[in-house]
Symmetry: C2
């Protein structure tokens, strides 16, 4: 059994063995560029931890973890185009550094490499692994589509917003740990509980993102506070705000959203504070966190084996960046 | 055993059973839109024919044929963005009708549905089928990248051009029939010969495209003659021209390529005729056709079973549109 940081280190070594071909460099260099931008590698490590709950790691889970991380990066490359994002983790995005066509095609080929790794999984697991992977991949696309659809609307209900982030973000965390558990020999019931754990963790994880963007400490996040506000992005905070405001407050909020001046961020944060939004989002994060701990507790594995997963859960739920 | 047209009809029925979910409509409607634009369905039918050479059709090949056609359409959707194409088969392309993000994301999800169909293949075949499919998918991306890289260059050698169309177009035809053959129980040697047959057919097929764009009959092709010339596209004709011209002719050709007037097409065609390019491309197509017939002849299956494949080969090699 290994800690998050031990597995992270081991995964980076395994992952760095995956080399794209040298040619055409115009296709593959952008793939390596994105992968070397870093990232938390939460998904592959969750996959490995899911496996290690039951049996020592083997190539099935190393390859699946690699597939998950490659697929995740493929979605990032395409999402950045769709979201018109010039930067990711403070670094120029692929389509900005190269061009649009490169962002599309290098993303495409990266997704195929994900499937190539998946195909290394033993025959006895391949159908189940592929089925879950594909289902999740489809959900991620659906989530991204909803996210884009929401940008064109004035108001998104809380329920709609939560469903969107479930699809776009949380299912892949749930699936990562479930894939590991399946490959480690967990029963269907047991791996499904772990999937629920991962989903809940994923929801709390994404809501924490929304929280930090508005209420975070810029010295810790390394990002400008209020990026979501400036982009009029539909977040938990905005959806919740529209749910709880009265008719007059609603008019005030709508006027605030139309503004484009320097003080927009601070004025919207002041408005959010006036309706106690910070409490609401903290409570929501707390609810999903409790769910995550509940499902982890419920997982039929002796407590000592769950220690590392509990640690990573604490870490992810309390992150400041 | 069935003819091309019988299999085409049966495939359309099977293929139409594949329905995308209703929601999000913004994601799935563009997928259906592209699939209903039509297309020759050459690849899935080749897959079915490869299977039928050996054993009656079963779900393995129907699903693989579906995966191949979905994947092919995914590449078309993304290629149209990268090539800035407003029309495909005379109809508005997906990114033009909807928008860029839709073209990207609907393409992405369609490729995942291809893998979902592939995952229905029996366990005994799944690894080999996936491995070949992935390898080919990667080659298609590499071919598209080379095609785009070539657009930025003044001169592309014949060898480079042939390698590009091999990757971008011909490998998928070879792989389609090989997948069918593998699933039909062909030996590795036998299915490899069929792959060579399909590759050669694919080369002749693509060169025929280049031929028709310049020397075709607009009443039959339904397309304006000289589209490639107008776009200064690197084709067999241009690559061959630069290979055979002398120093003075090269200067003339380079000047012609710089032009943007109404007479550009007819003047370049006149230049091509002056250096007998039509003969060269006909000869090249003939060479690849002979190769295709040679590999089909060499396939260790009794002649009567190859009748339908021979017919489709004749049809594809002599198409006027």
């Amino acid at each position: 059994m290994h800690s998050f940081h031990e597995l992270l280190e081991q995964f980076e070594i395994f992952f760095s063995k995956h080399k794209f071909p040298d040619s055409p460099a115009t296709l593959y260099e952008p793939c390596s560029y994105l992968l070397h931008m870093g990232g938390k590698r939460v998904r592959p490590v969750l996959c490995l931890m899911g496996h290690e709950l039951f049996t020592p790691l083997n190539d099935n889970s190393w390859n699946t973890a690699t597939a998950v991380e490659l697929f995740h990066n493929f979605t990032l490359m395409h999402d950045d185009i769709m979201d018109n994002a010039p930067l990711r983790r403070g670094v120029t995005t692929v389509h900005e550094k190269y061009n649009l066509a490169t962002g599309i095609l290098s993303g495409d080929v990266m997704s195929i490499y994900a499937y190539q790794h998946l195909n290394k999984v033993d025959t006895s697991y391949i159908h189940a692994v592929m089925a879950l992977f594909n289902q999740t991949a489809i959900q991620i696309c659906e989530g991204q589509q909803l996210d884009m659809d929401f940008e064109k609307r004035d108001i998104v209900s809380l329920e709609e917003y939560l469903e969107m982030i479930r699809l776009k973000t949380s299912v892949l965390l749930g699936t990562s740990i479930k894939l590991g558990a399946m490959l480690g020999g967990a029963t269907e019931g047991c791996s499904e509980i772990l999937s629920q754990f991962g989903n809940s963790l994923g929801m709390a994880f994404q809501l924490r993102d929304d929280y930090l963007d508005t209420f975070g400490d810029t010295n810790k996040t390394g990002k400008q506070i209020g990026g979501d506000i400036l982009a009029n992005k539909k977040t938990y905070l905005l959806a919740k705000a529209f749910e709880i405001v009265d008719v007059n407050q609603k008019i005030v909020l709508q006027e605030l959203l139309k503004r484009n001046d320097q003080e927009k961020i601070q004025d919207i944060i002041a408005f959010f504070n006036s309706i106690q939004l910070k409490n609401y989002i903290e409570e929501e994060i707390e609810n999903y966190s409790k769910k995550a701990y509940f499902f982890l507790e419920k997982t039929p594995v002796i407590s000592s084996r769950k220690k590392n997963l509990l640690e990573v859960t604490d870490m992810l739920l309390h992150r400041e960046k």
